[in-house]
């Protein structure tokens, strides 16, 4: 033979789609959210994103070296983890804390399991959970957006009392429970800022518009399926609606639960992480319903004003069970002889 002919199993052609391309799409989907973070929290927000991404990449590289594995930086999943972690942090968080969070996310959240595809929990949420339990004060000091107060000193443990902070909409609504008119005032005042994002909160969660643009991009590109986000919204809305019907003075309107907090951002970008979500469509529905319900359970009944992170981590933990529950059966039914 004059030519190199290879043989292999069929099929011999492949769809031009790679893991790298999927991750790149997620990053593109996150761009509007990052822009919003830049607009509302200025350089501080972008710095936080940059630090998280760099640390995630560096630690993934280090883990690969230690494990004597080929570099996996090309798949861009560490970049996605870094961005999502950064966007879930309070804008005023000290950079050293962000670096610690990145380290926990990559090392404990991902690489100890064997890298991409093997992790049980969403790495970014593992990192954030670690920060939440370790640095509770820092993780709940919500500096106001630069659009409201351009003179923003960075938060440090030493000056945490001096920085101008603001309660997040959810924290506010939580306080409103204790105050009869609180919910009413909240309902009147907070609607527009939660849509545009001109309000205190984590870097990426505040702007509904930016999140929707990014989320719709992912849906159009078919990078994510609509099932999980829709299930999250539905169950959260129903749960919040029930609470609102029971006591409309103490609880905010269900709509606000969708626009404020990490629910919207997480439903599109965190809960849809394919590695930690179920494989089957039915499983996705159950997973999304669980995330929405647990989030609202924590928000309304629990002590934390926000519960999305814990909801996702809990549902990540039961994903293998969900997959087992909805095992697929062949079109032609189960074979008669196994």
């Amino acid at each position: 033979m004059s030519q190199d002919i290879s043989v292999s199993f069929a099929p011999h052609i492949r769809k031009p789609l790679s893991t790298q391309r999927i991750m790149l799409d997620v990053i593109i989907g996150l761009v509007p959210v990052m822009i919003a973070a830049g607009v509302y929290f200025r350089f501080r927000g972008l710095l936080l994103i940059g630090i998280c991404v760099i640390w995630c990449l560096a630690l993934e590289w280090l883990c690969n070296v230690v494990r004597r594995k080929p570099s996996s930086l090309w798949d861009l999943s560490a970049v996605v983890t870094g961005i999502i972690l950064a966007l879930s942090l309070p804008p005023g968080l000290p950079l050293w804390a962000a670096a610690i969070g990145s380290g926990v996310a990559i090392i404990v959240g991902k690489m100890v399991f064997g890298g991409l595809g093997a992790n049980v929990f969403n790495p970014a949420m593992v990192g954030r959970a670690f920060l939440t339990v370790s640095f509770g004060m820092l993780m709940t000091a919500w500096t106001v957006p630069a659009t409201l107060d351009p003179d923003l000193p960075p938060v440090e443990p030493t000056n945490i009392q001096d920085v101008r902070t603001q309660a997040t909409p959810l924290a506010w609504s939580k306080m409103a429970i204790k105050d009869e008119n609180g919910a009413k005032i909240y309902n009147e005042r907070q609607f527009l800022p939660t849509i545009t994002g001109n309000i205190a909160g984590s870097l990426g969660e505040t702007s509904v518009i930016a999140i929707l643009i990014g989320g719709i991009y992912l849906l159009v590109r078919r990078t994510i399926d609509f099932h999980i986000p829709l299930a999250v919204f539905l169950s959260a809305f129903v749960f919040a609606g029930v609470a609102y019907l029971i006591d409309s003075d103490a609880f905010v309107q269900p709509f606000y639960h969708l626009t404020s907090g990490a629910l919207l951002f997480g439903a599109f970008f965190i809960a849809t992480d394919p590695v930690t979500a179920p494989l089957t469509r039915r499983g996705m529905w159950l997973f999304g319903l669980g995330v929405g319900a647990l989030t609202l359970l924590i928000r309304i009944v629990g002590e934390y004003p926000e519960g999305f992170m814990f909801a996702v981590l809990l549902m990540n933990g039961v994903t293998p069970l969900i997959d087992r529950l909805f095992r697929r059966v062949p079109v032609g039914g189960k074979p008669r002889v196994a």
């Binding site: 290879s6 099929p11 032609g332």
Partner: protein, 457 residues
């Protein structure tokens, strides 16, 4: 009477690979190359391997039977040319790797002419009894020419226990590149219809439909026009199918057209359906009306890796090398030669591999198609994206099966119903991590078969 579904003639799952049929769909069937030596395999079908009916040194006439068998599920083989039997020996085989074949050295100098079929003016399928048709089909060695190669006589044999109610003629041709069935539908329309009538007469089906994908509007139009002209439009219906791979898989086809499900591990006759390819129907007409055995077939030679693609009428037993030479040779960037289409075809390394009754195409793929733009395709970790689950037309969980096989957990693979896989290749096609899911599943099936043999129940 079975109701046809009205609109969405499709099934759940499947993929849309580039069709790439433009290379050959406009090219009429031409006579193919004349190879000096033809290797006629004794196993070109599912079932018992035929035994050689001739020996080394024998002189054979064209159309003479060179292999036969008494088994029920089997088909005899015939030589397409007159000549001398040079040997009966092992030859490369696209499916089996190696198989016994009768090697005939031809005497003829003229390349095989594309035959013309004349439908008798007063054609009436009732002239033949079902038994006569089945015998003629068996004698002619006709097998399913779509790829599987199940003996047609067995398929169309009437079964008093389970009457054949529906006869589905498969003209979907969902594999990319292949256009042999399309050209047959355009050029041999009357012959196909004659064959369909004979098959219907044999199996006694009350409903007959021809299923054609809607990316072949000319074939649909031609088929309808011919049926109208022959006054058969009320008996045989043309069904337009959504263009999707694997629409031509018989399980998918039955689902899409009849909304019926073939049980896992079962075959269509179990639910009273017979599926036959258009090329097979054409061969039936030749066999019954003219008494001609199946010795030639139309082969699409296509792909980015061959100089002059086309559709050729080729004697069975012709080596692939003869087709390559006939079509102007391989291009420099050709990296894979596939017997069949790119989704389910078998890659071959030996260009002396002969054409069999089931080889509808030889596809020559270029390097970028086989290994990606940078030639660096490699397997990366599964990210559990679930694209393989959505693509699977049989509602399986390909990634789980593949990972079970990779870790030698065969009982787990069986728990995910590995045996229900039809090996269509959709999962591998869509996998962003480039995991050869279909390959793992095929390997797993082989492992399982070996285990069973070693450990009898």
């Amino acid at each position: 009477m079975i109701m046809f579904t009205k609109d969405s003639r499709s099934f759940a799952g499947g993929v849309h690979p580039p069709e790439s049929k433009h290379l050959t769909e406009g090219k009429a069937i031409e006579s193919g190359p004349l190879a000096k030596e033809l290797a006629i395999h004794l196993s070109q079908h599912i079932g018992a391997i035929a035994k050689p009916a001739v020996k080394k040194g024998d002189t054979v006439q064209d159309g003479q039977k060179v292999g036969e068998c008494d088994a029920f599920v089997c088909a005899p083989v015939h030589t397409p040319v007159a000549g001398k039997v040079k040997n009966v020996a092992l030859q490369p085989h696209a499916v089996l790797g190696r198989g016994k074949a009768v090697i005939v050295e031809g005497q003829s100098e003229t390349p095989p002419a594309v035959p013309s079929f004349v439908r008798p003016a007063d054609f009436d399928p009732a002239t033949w009894t079902p038994g006569q048709i089945c015998d003629a089909v068996r004698e002619a060695g006709i097998v399913g020419m779509g790829g599987a190669g199940f003996p047609t006589s067995v398929k169309i044999q009437p079964d008093p226990k389970k009457p054949r109610e529906v006869l589905l003629i498969n003209g979907c041709e969902c594999e990319p590149y292949i256009t042999c069935d399309y050209r047959i539908m355009l050029e041999w329309t009357e012959q196909i219809i004659t064959g369909i009538q004979l098959a219907q007469q044999a199996c006694g089906a009350s409903t007959v439909a021809i299923a054609i994908e809607d990316n072949k509007p000319k074939a649909i139009e031609q088929m309808n026009a011919t049926l109208n002209r022959l006054g058969l439009a009320d008996q045989i219906r043309v069904v337009s199918m959504a263009t999707k791979y694997p629409q031509g898989g018989e399980r998918q086809l039955i689902r899409a057209v009849l909304r019926k499900v073939v049980p896992t591990g079962g075959i269509p006759p179990m639910i009273g359906v017979v599926v036959t390819n258009v090329a097979t129907a054409a061969a039936v007409a030749h066999a019954v009306v003219d008494g001609r055995p199946l010795t030639h077939r139309v082969v699409t030679v296509s792909g980015e890796g061959i100089a002059n693609p086309g559709n050729y009428y080729v004697p069975i037993g012709t080596p692939v090398q003869a087709l390559i030479d006939h079509c102007g040779g391989m291009r420099d960037d050709c990296a894979k030669v596939v017997m069949g289409g790119p989704m389910m075809g078998l890659a071959i390394a030996d260009m002396s591999t002969p054409i069999t009754k089931t080889s509808g195409a030889v596809t020559f793929l270029s390097k970028t198609q086989v290994a990606g733009e940078d030639g660096q395709w490699r397997e990366t970790p599964c990210i559990r994206c679930g694209r393989c689950l959505q693509a699977c037309p049989e509602n399986l969980n390909p990634t789980r099966i593949a990972h079970a096989v990779r870790n030698s957990l065969m009982d787990k693979a069986e728990g995910y119903y590995i045996s229900a896989c039809i090996e269509c290749g959709c999962c591998s096609y869509v996998c962003p991590a480039n995991i050869d899911l279909t390959g793992y599943i095929k390997t797993g099936k082989i492992h399982l078969a070996r285990q069973r043999k070693k450990m009898p129940a």
